[in-house]
Symmetry: C2
Subunit: 218 residues, 2 copies
DNA sequence: ATATTTTTTTAGACTAGTCTAAACTTTTAT
DNA sequence: ATAAAAGTTTAGACTAGTCTAAAAAAATAT
């Protein structure tokens, strides 16, 4: 049984390693966890003893199969709870993160399987992020940043890459939502901003940064 | 902001003080929390500094108004979550306690108010225990142990006093549920057991202990 | 190739919560 | 009324997780 803290470290390592592919530095973990490198070193030793990560002094860590599986379960719980909060309790998509950060640590397999069923086995959370199934399998669909799409090609908004509350509020305000059909009307060369058409009827300008953070499928 | 542990102590003290009326001994708290008296003494000092309880060395503790209010909020959350688990996720009433013990510590007013609304502002949990409202107000209805009812008087099962999973499973098995109409057919003098009629069609014998643990209204 | 900078680890200390063992108070029994 | 028993508190130690400061290793720059 992992502690709250161990789960959070593992999740951070999983994210930083991009799904377990890259190895991760102490300083990166410290940054993501808002803590100091010395604390990270201590925790790394613990996780390493439990075979959740491989660790070589001074050369960072690599998540193991077992560690990856634990991380995926935490992510599964986080995303199922976010879905619950939005679909059932009418939270807005910018309000769910902090509560889900707490709910993801509740320990009960029965709970999470029943929640999954209650929600109709969703495959993506309110931000469009895929929900791992009970075996940790993630349904991956190739998505590209809206910024990389060519002008006048039709696409659908699938997810937000980094969804800070203020960015999500901004998106709602301009009418962007997961599933929205979008076309790029014009790319402004000066600053890389885009003029886009949402839902076939709303024309807006969005910054290059915003367009990098919106992932779409053609 | 109270810690997980502080909330649990406060809840125990609230229960043992019977809603803040009696004062509570260190050893009683230790017993209920499955810990040692020395640990209780330490925590008592902390809670006392935060004005959640009044404490006089060697003479036990008394919960304050503020402490009572905090305890009631934890109880409110616990019972709302139990209700959610049974009504929405199809848990049985004997499965909910341990999960609710975790969920009750999630910190978010928005969450609990939205959950309350989602559940239709229930006034009792699956065991018939009253759910404090957002101001900590409890709707009290006078209930008596089934054991104290006279023979052949109609009554309705309202709650279980101490609901261990195995007792709850037993009740389900014999057809007792919250809201069930019951009459005592006969009181067996030998051991205080009762023959009762449930739902107008099921005759069963239940022990004196069981009849003490079932609360009813006439 | 060596010196400097950056990063990581170690050492030692701190808080929250727990424990055991010993000291101290109160209660109970004679 | 006093001795024994029971219950409570203190003292000191332990674990989990955190921190700062110093030491050690690696990366970088000349």
């Amino acid at each position: 049984m992992l502690s709250f803290t161990e789960e959070n470290y593992l999740k951070a390592i999983y994210r930083l390693s991009e799904g377990g592919t890259k190895s991760v530095l102490t300083s990166e973990i410290a940054e993501m966890m808002s803590t100091k490198a010395a604390s990270v070193t201590d925790m790394i030793k613990k996780l390493s003893l439990k075979n959740l990560i491989g660790y070589e002094k001074y050369y960072g860590v690599k998540i193991t199969k077992q560690g990856k599986s634990e991380a995926l379960m935490v992510i599964r719980k986080h995303r199922l709870w976010e879905t619950f909060l939005v679909e059932k309790l009418q939270f807005t998509w910018d309000e769910v993160h902090d509560v889900a950060e707490q709910l993801e640590h509740i320990q009960s397999n029965l709970l999470i399987e029943k929640l999954d069923e209650f929600l109709g086995f969703p495959t993506a959370d309110p931000h469009g992020h895929p929900i791992p199934d009970k075996n940790g399998k993630i349904q991956t669909v190739r998505q590209i940043p809206l910024a990389d799409l060519v002008t006048s090609k039709k696409c659908v908004i699938r997810s937000v890459k980094d969804g800070s509350p203020s960015f999500l509020q901004y998106l709602s305000k301009i009418g962007v939502y997961i599933g929205a059909p979008v076309v790029i009307l014009e790319k402004i060369e000066f600053d890389g901003s885009l003029e886009i058409l949402i839902d076939g009827n709303k024309k807006v300008f969005i910054s290059r940064d915003a367009a990098q953070n919106l992932l779409v499928t053609e």
